[in-house]
Amino acid sequence: MRMDRAEKVGTGAALLFHVALIGAMSMSLAHINSTPEPPAMEVELVEEVGLTAAAPQQVVVPPPPSQAPEMGEAEPVEAVAPPPPTPRPTPAPVVKPVPPRAAPPKPSPVVKPAPPRTAPPKPTPRVSRIGDDFLKGISDDKLAPRAGPAPKPAAATVSASAMAGIVQAIRRQVQPCADRQVNPGEGASRIKVRMRLQLTRSGRLRAPPQVIGTSGVDDENARYEERVKDLAVATFVGCAPLVGLPPELYETESGRGWSDFIMNYNLP
């Protein structure tokens, strides 16, 4: 009975020990002080985002072929290559039957291949140092202007920031004319007119500004709508030659550019 008691005591103690350990770990021992989170960073949402590559496309111009005479030694390949077709096939059949039948002529195979190798280089002028016409390539190039592409490559597309810059530039130039317009009545400044400007490369209007649409028209200012449209056209016509716009963005491959441009106008 004593041994059984020892067993019972031991098992009970082990169970108690484990329960106490798990309890202690659950309660407090396993607590980890969580570090406070760092303060959140301020993030600004930017609307002008260029979603497409706006870098000007590289126009690959192959270099014009060299027209100047080559300097230095003539290439050995050219000298060696021509002879094999003609002289080689003929000496070989002739030479080969000769050595087996006549034993002594050992020097003959050595001598015979030699002439064809030395002979061909002679006709081609090996002396290709600087010739009389070494300026030929340069003068040619200068005289005949290259039929290359336009000096300034067109940009692939207009980035959002570049577009914003163009809008700013146009707005700045149009501002004096816009300031001159008289506000026809209350609420008229809420009307926004979408204008289509068609410009030439020099900044002139190719066609009179077109009104595409209006927004912000309500009951109160509906009667001023036509008047505001006229004022918008007058503003752009009055300050017509728009200068200082970036020429590389006049037309782009994606079709956007300030050659055909849409602007919003509203009264100050």
């Binding site: 041994m3 020892a6 067993e7 031991g10 098992t11 798990i22 396993a30 980890i32």
Partner: protein, 233 residues
């Protein structure tokens, strides 16, 4: 996978257990049971060994102090002590061997020695029962825990692949709960190995003590045998 937030009670053993996979849960439960069993054996054997050592010392001093071995045997021979069993075996053999008229001294000595050795071996065999469990737990539990960890980490990597997210908040809880399996395995194994070595050492000492007692008692009985034969019992 449940939504996990990195709070303090995330690390509590109960939470770690509840969030784990079935296989990992089974591993954890098994290891916990092994740990409980290990500690039960440790406590039981430590208590027993201490009682037996104390009892043996007292028994031995009493035994050598007594003048009447027969009375001592009838009084203390039924003690639940290994040394009492050894003494009982020796006296039993002695009585049987000296019952006859013609006493074979050499044979009696041999029988006494073998009976006492057998008694020591029997007692030690009984005492060392279940120590092999400690050895097994000590060597296997880390591997079982490691298996649970590997399984849990595999599972949490699968979860990462499913979530398409490798942030620490996704990875960490799964790995923590997986590592918990190894922690339990080591928790079960380390005490088991230590206790196995300690208890084996204690049993070795007890065996040495019993052997010494047996040898000494054997010498005494042997001497007594000569005296009794000489007096013509």
């Amino acid at each position: 996978m449940p939504e996990l937030t990195a709070t303090a009670d995330l690390m509590s053993p109960l939470n770690l257990f509840l969030q784990a996979d079935v296989v990992v849960k089974a591993v954890m439960l098994g290891l916990l049971l092994a740990s409980v069993w290990t500690w039960a054996i440790i406590f039981t054997h430590s208590i027993r060994l201490r009682q037996i050592n104390r009892g043996t010392d007292k028994f031995e001093s009493d035994f050598w102090a007594t003048n009447d071995i027969d009375a001592f045997y009838s009084h203390r021979g039924t003690d639940r002590l290994p040394i009492a069993a050894v003494m009982s075996a020796a006296l039993d053999e002695w009585r049987r061997s000296t019952k006859t008229k013609q006493v074979d001294r050499a044979g009696t000595r041999e029988r006494l020695a073998s009976r006492m050795n057998a008694a020591v071996a029997t007692e030690l065999d009984r005492l060392s029962d279940r120590l092999n469990i400690l050895a097994t737990v000590g060597s296997v539990a880390p591997f079982v825990g490691l298996f649970g960890t590997v399984w849990g980490i595999m599972r949490s990597f699968t979860a990462i692949a499913g979530a398409n997210n490798t942030s620490l908040a996704v990875v960490a809880p799964g790995i923590a709960e997986a590592l918990f399996a190894t922690a339990i395995g080591l928790f079960a194994a380390i005490p088991a190995v230590i206790a196995y070595n300690r208890l084996t050492h204690g049993l070795d000492r007890l065996e040495a003590k019993l052997s010494r007692f047996a040898d000494r008692f054997h010498a005494t009985l042997s001497r007594e045998l000569e005296v009794e034969v000489a007096t013509g019992h």
